[in-house]
Symmetry: C2
DNA sequence: CTGTTAGCGCATTCAC
DNA sequence: GTGAATGCGCTAACAG
């Protein structure tokens, strides 16, 4: 492409026969500047559609005005909505947002954080991959003076600002609801439990049983290696094969739920009469599914806003203090027609 | 946060009592450099985990190694997958990807492109909002020497590199298939037709009728103002109210299709026996819907890869020539159980 | 009111 | 082999 040098402050300085600093001042409404020169400068700037070079500014100011966000994937309603919340918050504060996805790859996550450090972003929001077990790459950011906020996915033994959703509570609500509606043989398709969020959902499932004096039957629990619809299919095929009595399903998320529901139907069970189903996430399609899917809604947009807010607070306070914020948001059970009382 | 100056090339130069240039050379495998000093430099660099400052480099080289992509929204399977394709392509070429969403807002789109220009990204991929009717903001990028590739959404009268999917063909295939299966009263829920892609889908619907000698009944066409599931609900409610004979539905996309299907069912029609339904996009949930949704699959990942490739070619050729690339990818009809032959 | 100087971090001349 | 000088685009401190 042609050497399309953008017009710089120097170009217009030369043309006006003044110094670059004068131009700079004119452009910034500096108090001491003659109306005359200011007018001339602005005119030329307009004419050449002058754009300040952010790189030069960033180099000078040691801040880029960019906030980075790393999510495992952007396809899900969950993360996409978090991003919306973050974007609204940071852009209202004049920051730009650099969105990246790790695809659940630890290596990619490290690389992305590395890139962000090189780019000198002002701060980072991250939802780690579920394979992330070491945190050197987080520490490296911090020691470079770049504040970090972890959201949605907890890193139990790592100290940092965190904004999480209480998955345990959501699962507990869902399962207790199933119990109260007379379902006592509730299957659970768990996600990879190495992953704290999924572990918490499992725990919610277990404790809801315990607290309501319903015996837990381990043969009703399937541990999946993933959490897309395919895994839901496989998991429910396993459940069928076990040939146990079963009148409800609590799936680790909606994607898994719809996969399982296909198998449920293919095996001649009715939803919700024979098997009540509850998912998790309230994906955009959940309410339009047939039958509309009961699920657990999470305050996702708020999650994004709050995470971003905490990061912005860091910039204001200038202190990377030892006190870490730890915020837990509450999810809500949404009852639709995929579940129904037995009575 | 503490003044955490990152270690620079100068710091380690001082400490070794050599000049910055020597350090720079050592770090870059420069031929003429003693093994001794090189070793020392590398050791210190390691010790302080030296990171080159990308901003300084970018300022120097007039290239940032960042490619920007602007999409209307990132929640849909479509754009999320495009992004994956783009990401894989550009990162294999050593570029970083700056992802932004315009939320279908023209103002936001302008602002984002402006930001990218200021940041001096090396190139931009964009799928314009459907409200984008003027292209000054595109031209501004080009005149700043930043190449631009438009994907998925056409801007009919604007000259630029473009990578599109043949929506007309996809729609035509879908509707012709419905006709061949004996459906002659096919409704269409159209998206906002100001939007070329949706207009093309409508045209495909119309011409498939024409070519197969099926009369077009305008009362079977609903023009929606949007293309989320909600609009599908509203649109089909309208169709019902019109009380016309109808044995199939071709929806502008899957989201609209599942909204409509809920209404279809609520009104006592069976899918596919009474009404065959075909969507568009092959969203991740389409195959798990009940009944599994017939739809039009698009080579989305390839779309992303190809768009990115074209942009990368620009960098290689150094010519912002007058010849524009224009690539059209073909979609494929995917038949599932939401549609069936009448016979 | 305006020009000069310096420096952000780095790579690349050109000298030695 | 290595150092000194230069400049990418810009702003701020210091002189007038």
């Amino acid at each position: 492409m042609q050497k399309n040098r953008q017009t710089t402050i120097i170009d217009i300085a030369k043309q006006l026969g003044v110094s670059p600093s004068t131009v700079s001042r004119a452009l910034h409404n500096h108090p001491s500047i003659s109306a005359e020169t200011k007018k001339n400068v602005l005119a030329l700037a307009e004419k050449y559609s002058y754009q300040p070079n952010l790189l030069a500014l960033s180099l000078l100011n040691k801040r880029t005005g960019i906030i980075g966000i790393v999510v495992p994937e952007i396809t899900s309603y969950f993360f996409a909505t978090v991003i919306s919340g973050v974007q609204d918050m940071v852009s209202s504060a004049g920051y730009k947002l650099l969105i990246c996805q790790s695809n659940e790859s630890f290596e990619e996550e490290k690389k992305l954080l590395q890139d962000m450090a090189l780019l000198r972003v002002d701060g980072v929001l991250i939802s780690p991959t579920f394979r992330t077990k070491t945190f050197d790459h987080f520490d490296r950011l911090k020691s470079a003076g770049i504040p970090l906020v972890i959201f949605d996915r907890d890193c139990p033994h790592y100290k940092a600002d965190k904004v999480l959703v209480d998955s345990y509570d959501g699962a507990y609500q869902a399962v207790e609801y199933l119990i109260k509606t007379g379902r006592h043989n509730i299957a659970h398709i768990a996600g990879p439990i190495a992953f704290p969020t999924f572990k918490q959902r499992l725990d919610g499932y277990l404790n809801a049983h315990y607290d309501n004096n319903i015996p837990i039957r381990s043969e009703l629990i399937v541990y999946s290696d993933g959490f897309s619809s395919d895994y839901g299919v496989d998991a429910f095929v396993q459940l069928i094969a076990r040939n146990k009595k079963l009148d409800a399903l609590f799936a680790v998320n909606d994607a898994v739920a719809i996969g399982a529901m296909r198998v449920i139907r293919e095996n001649g069970y009715r939803i919700p009469e024979d098997i009540s189903v509850v998912g998790f996430d309230d994906e955009s399609y959940a309410q339009y599914y047939f039958p509309p899917l009961s699920t657990v809604w999470q305050p996702v947009y708020e999650l994004g806003m709050l995470s971003a807010k905490i990061l912005l607070d860091h910039f204001a306070s200038k202190e990377l203090g030892e006190r870490f914020r730890y915020e837990i948001l509450k999810p809500e059970l949404v009852i639709r027609e995929s579940s129904i009382s037995l009575s």
